[in-house]
């Protein structure tokens, strides 16, 4: 406990920045999103796939950011919402022959919201490590349960017939990402955002000041879940095939967290910047070193956590030059 309070003070001393992060970062991201709208016009399936991935991961990262970054409840299982979203699309096609992406997104968000509401009340009573592992457990258990329900496709998975205008999946993902981005912006500047951060900084004090933690924590988890599920709903259609391991893949669980850290946890622009940079790194590694790209990626994670725990953007706010940088590394050691 004392260590965490001390680290909070240290964070402020090295210049962490407020809830909204920097304005410049925000406008840069708006510009980025506008530019990304032009990708389908390049008529290159591979590039479209790549940037659709960036948008998807950015959304997942933005979602995680709400519960993990702003509210301070580090979830290690948000992929469960993504997976639920994919299966929503799969079932809409398989049972109702419904291909409409918008319907899929809305239904997926509803499913995620209910799931977060029902499980959130008991699970969010846990703190720290326990919450993290409990969410991991939920993700694994849900994956297993779904893989064993034949009505949902069981172990064979579900094939989804894709719509003819394939670029619509790209635009849908873009819409989901932009909506999540704007939602994060609105939350950060509203009473909701302050309530989340209050819970993160000191939950007991927040309660005394009139913030009902359970209500806000569950709300935060619901929001993060809805974002993830929307991304999943679009992904399923674009992928054409969903089974349990694909829907709940570890990559989709961990990458968004690393991206949020790389870009800056608890900021608006962080997840998007992190998603772009990390995808660039991952794709380069994958193209040139296919056999060992995961190895390099593990190294990247380790390096990011060790040297950039507060993200790239923070690197430019750091005072004290090199000395300050080295000093910041020593804060947590024994």
């Amino acid at each position: 406990m004392a260590a965490e309070a001390a680290s909070g003070a240290t964070l402020r001393r090295v210049g962490f920045g407020g809830i909204t992060g920097s304005r410049g970062a925000f406008f840069a991201c708006c510009g980025l999103l506008v530019v990304l709208l032009a990708v389908p016009s390049l008529h290159n399936g591979y590039i479209e796939n790549l940037f659709r991935g960036v948008l998807m991961f950015a959304t997942l990262s933005l979602g995680w950011n709400v519960i993990g970054g702003y509210t301070g409840y580090v979830s290690f299982g948000n992929v469960v919402f993504f997976g639920l979203g994919t299966y929503t699309t799969a079932m809409l096609w398989d049972k109702l022959h419904q291909q409409n992406i918008a319907i899929a997104i809305v239904t997926a968000m509803a499913v995620a919201a209910i799931f977060a509401l029902v499980l959130g009340v008991p699970i969010l009573r846990l703190r720290g490590h326990y919450f993290g592992i409990a969410t991991l457990g939920i993700a694994l258990a849900t994956q297993e349960i779904i893989a064993n329900i034949d009505w949902l496709g069981g172990g064979s998975g579900v094939t989804i017939r894709q719509i003819d205008n394939f670029s619509l999946y790209y635009y849908a993902m873009w819409a989901v990402c932009t909506a999540s981005f704007l939602a994060t912006f609105l939350i950060a500047r509203s009473k909701l955002g302050y309530a989340f951060v209050a819970i993160r900084e000191n939950e007991e004090a927040a309660t005394i000041l009139g913030v009902d933690p359970t209500r806000y924590k569950v709300l935060a988890w619901m929001i993060s879940g809805m974002m993830a599920a929307a991304a999943g709903a679009v992904f399923a259609g674009a992928n054409g095939f969903i089974d349990a391991p694909t829907a709940f893949a570890t990559d989709d669980n961990v990458f968004p967290i690393v991206m949020a850290i790389l870009g800056g946890v608890g900021t608006i622009a962080g997840p998007l910047v992190g998603a772009l940079v990390l995808t660039a790194i991952n794709e380069t590694l994958w193209s040139h070193f296919p056999e060992i790209h995961t190895l390099f990626f593990g190294a990247v994670i380790v390096l990011v956590v060790l040297f950039l725990p507060r993200g790239i953007l923070w690197l430019f706010k750091l005072r004290g030059g090199w000395r300050g940088f080295i000093a910041s590394l020593k804060v947590y050691r024994v």
Binding site: R23, G31, L32, Y46, A147, S156, G157, T159, E291
Partner: protein, 410 residues
Amino acid sequence: MKNSRIAAICAAALVAVLALPATVTPAAADDSTIVFGAALAATGRDSREGALTRDGYEFWKDYVNSHGGIKVGGKTYKVAIEYADDETNPQTAARLVEKFISQDKVNFILGPYGSPNSASAAAVVERYKVPMVEGNGSAEKIFNQGFKYTFAVLSPARRYLEFVIDMALHQKDKPKTVAIVSANDAFSIEVAAGANDYALAHGLKVVYNSKYPADTTDVSGIVSAIKATNPDLILNGGHLQDAILLQRGFKEQNVNAKVFAYSVGPDTPDFRKTLGKDADYVFGGTQWSPTAKYKGAPGFITDSKVYAAEFAKKYGHIPDYHNAESSATCLAFQYAIEKAGSLDPQKVRDALASLDVVTFYGLLKFDDRGINIYKPMAVNQIQNGELKTVWPTGVQNAQPIYPTPDWSKR
């Protein structure tokens, strides 16, 4: 606050990502080479099977290139195959296939190993309208989607263990009860369903039928449960790893039965190597055997025995059915391209759809869904460390040893 720096980072990353594809040079698609793209598992759960598939493809390629290549119209073309590791991950397989088609501009696609990967690759080639032939994904689910551009040379999954039951029913001391256990993936589920339906249709009682997770590491509970039902036949739909675990488990808990049969495993050299003597008497369903008596069309090796000998010379072991069906996959393309007289994807696809040719592997003909229902399967048994074909009688080179002796009597 250095806004400009943030803008610079974003811009740099954006440019880097956009520029990436340019750094990867596509295969030298020159005018006299037909290029195939093949996403195969080199790592992950199916890496052994992926390697066997690759050997099958390579064997065909080397043969064709050293015998003048493929004739298209009036011109002769050499063959090249581009490989990439799909990590036994269906999503990676789909990405790789998309990259092969849209970036590297290959001519055609050779299928991955495994049904999930074949399924996700099938969705991609359907979108791009580039034909794909595969020889290692036999789940019928793939072919019930109405796809027009995917073809499979192998018999459907349901057939794998049917002939094992058939063989047992033709022996003295007929079996009465069956235990079926399968991994929870598309292929294994269909194998189990096929075995289950066949058993019921022939008057056998199914006393146990359950599934385990595809990547399970501990099967003691399943083995105990099977033992408690005391079945005559024990049938497994799964892959190499589970086959080894189960066979070991049966010995550990002293489970005896008249027949132990696995859909994948007994045919592979690794099964026999890992289990040693414990692998004896095990049966397996097989897509092909060196004892097959087909007379193939000209253009490739016509005789199964010769194929086995040539393959063994090159790779150091008798080919198993994965090798053979992979070579057959390429053969389908070879005959279709020659028949179409062109490399146009549409024309080749149509030629594939109407293909009807006998090869060393069997008849290559596809039904209107794209799968080969015209080739029968056979049954192998490991006898004294060696793989023998024991059923049907037309292709057997040894009698089946039935019933399997008890563990204590071996």
